[in-house]
Point group: C2
Chain length 348, copies 2
């Protein structure tokens, strides 16, 4: 008998721990079990289902006291669709499991549900079921089933040494937006920060881009950034059994980010560009690898077609080469894997 708590073990320790209780082998139609953004079930020779779930909890993942219910619903769906995007799949079906306090107003419910449904509809999916339970806080737990061709699917596990590493969009915006919203009254924030606030409240799951990327069959691995670049790149490298070099100077961020950091730090120095970009999390951007031998023409075309910003940020290294951040002065720094951990004692 140990007397550890979940806070001691951490979220990823918990994931390792539960594997003890699972059977050693999976049924042959389970292409992929625990360990990626989604599990994969083979349906036929030319079709797989990818399945994922993610629980969002009031005060932990969103704040019902100062966020529009429509925005809460839409964001919860986006977060889940991002996992479907990370596999290069098309969202199809959702089950909506809601824990709701009995004092919640029906108007709040209506608007939150509308936000969920609108975002799902936008990406071609449909709600086919769900359930309600009475809880003290609002809990949104979504189960999404996506569809893909087995030959055109992205996983975390195929990156090879020498592969070029790319990311969509800008990093750190969501974390900055979240900090701004948590520290200041929204009406007091300069309008220039709207893009950061929006990145936090209304992330765009990279469904269209990722699907085309998967169909083009040029990416060796992919993951969506939910826990922060450092942590999710760590997951990709773990699954691909490789290491990596990231060029810090290449990491894409919005110009407003530095101004927001200054604003946030006026009272206390609580954050930095580096920490927001590397550890901030909830970017819901796609991190992916392309072999160096592959021409970038197709990638550029897909990015143009889907109006997606892509940036090359580093290169996959052989296993045991170490995971490093190359700073702008040319020196290397160890890239620590720490990002969002639901049970990390350092997280609010």
């Amino acid at each position: 008998m140990t007397h550890k708590t979940l806070a001691d073990i951490g979220e990823f320790g918990l994931i390792e721990r539960l594997k003890r209780f699972l059977p050693g082998s999976l049924p042959e139609d389970v292409v992929l079990g625990i360990g990626d953004d989604c599990a994969i079930i083979r349906i036929s020779d030319d079709r797989v289902f990818v399945v994922t779930c993610d629980m969002q909890v009031d005060t932990v993942h969103f704040r019902s006291d100062h966020t529009e219910p429509y925005v809460i619903g839409r964001r919860a769906m986006s977060v889940n669709l991002s996992d479907i995007a990370a596999m290069g799949a098309t969202p199809r079906f959702a089950l909506v499991s809601l824990g709701l306090p009995e004092a919640l107003s029906s108007d709040f419910f209506d608007r939150m549900y509308q936000g969920l449904v609108d975002r799902l509809t936008e990406f071609g999916g449909v709600v086919i079921g769900g359930n309600f339970s009475r809880t003290d806080k609002i809990i949104i737990d979504l189960f999404i089933i996506g569809e893909a061709h087995p030959d055109h699917i992205l996983t975390r596990s195929g990156a090879q040494p020498g592969d070029r590493l790319f990311v969509t969009g800008c990093l750190g915006s969501s974390a900055a937006g979240q900090l701004l919203l948590s520290q200041f009254d929204r009406s007091a924030l300069p309008s220039t920060f709207a893009s950061l606030i929006n990145a936090h409240l209304n992330p765009t799951p990279r469904v269209a881009f990722a699907k085309k990327l998967a169909e083009a069959d040029i990416a060796t691995a992919a993951i969506d950034i939910s826990d922060g670049l450092a942590a999710d790149l760590g997951h990709l490298c773990d699954r691909s059994q490789c290491d990596v070099l990231v060029r810090y100077g290449a990491l894409p961020f919005l110009l407003e980010l530095d101004a927001a950091i200054e604003w946030i730090n006026q009272n206390n120095s609580i954050t930095s560009r580096e920490s927001l970009i590397l550890q901030g999390g909830e970017d819901y951007e796609l991190l992916f690898t392309i072999p160096a031998s592959v021409s970038l023409d197709t990638l550029r075309k897909i990015a143009n077609q889907t109006k997606t910003l892509i940036t090359e940020i580093g290169r996959i290294a052989p296993r045991d080469a170490g995971r490093f951040l190359e700073l702008t002065d040319g020196s290397n720094k160890t890239l620590s894997g720490s990002g969002w951990d639901h049970y990390s004692p350092n997280r609010a």
Copy 2:
């Protein structure tokens, strides 16, 4: 703008309400959407997936302070498997979404997870994914995918006037067990109540029986009893557009039930056999209908093979005939549909 709360609307009002936000038509491979125990997705000409989710919350659906963690996990899985059983399907895949307090001990987690996995394994399913979130109370939200042949599936909607109504097992045991556990110290309870306690803590999902029933193609409708006989029979009748006559004297219950009611009522008269059997809920027995023209030989054979008690309890009536309970003195009483409602103000 209305100012109603969810407590005003109730769980089933909420289900009606959300339908406003859903598209009028479903994709052609969705055989059945919201409104049954599971949704049904067509996979091929000879295969469907049935999908369901159910959120169980500490202090609402179980009591982590006086229930073994293994029992909590096993029961949560049974409750979900019961929905798969209600469709006559075979459990295949589960995603386990857990909300856990950070102060929870790792031993508690281990035993609860083991309970979940053992019960799933027992019925042939496998965990393929899931996620963890930090919550104040333990929340177990399970997403199960089952498999069936499209020609051999049970739904709530096919009952016809004249059909015979059957139920598996005994009614009211679980509700009595739950009352005993909530009102008395377990060590103070007579050992004769063990079967009632067990019915509450370790319900058996009727997977084996229901699968054979579906394959035999003799049942016109089925539902599992989670909200209580009266409420779930109401759902079956609503979906089948019919009414019903239930013979109160035919309803099966354990002999220990009356003794337990007497024990519970020693201080205050808080319950009755009728309320436990009709409204108690959480029986997880199967309620189903068979046309009067069908010989009962096959049904008896299936019951024997799967060691399942079955009892004929009434008959389906034409729509607008009314829903009645025939009492033992021959008089009829309106069968009210009230059972478990997560937002009913009368529920603890």
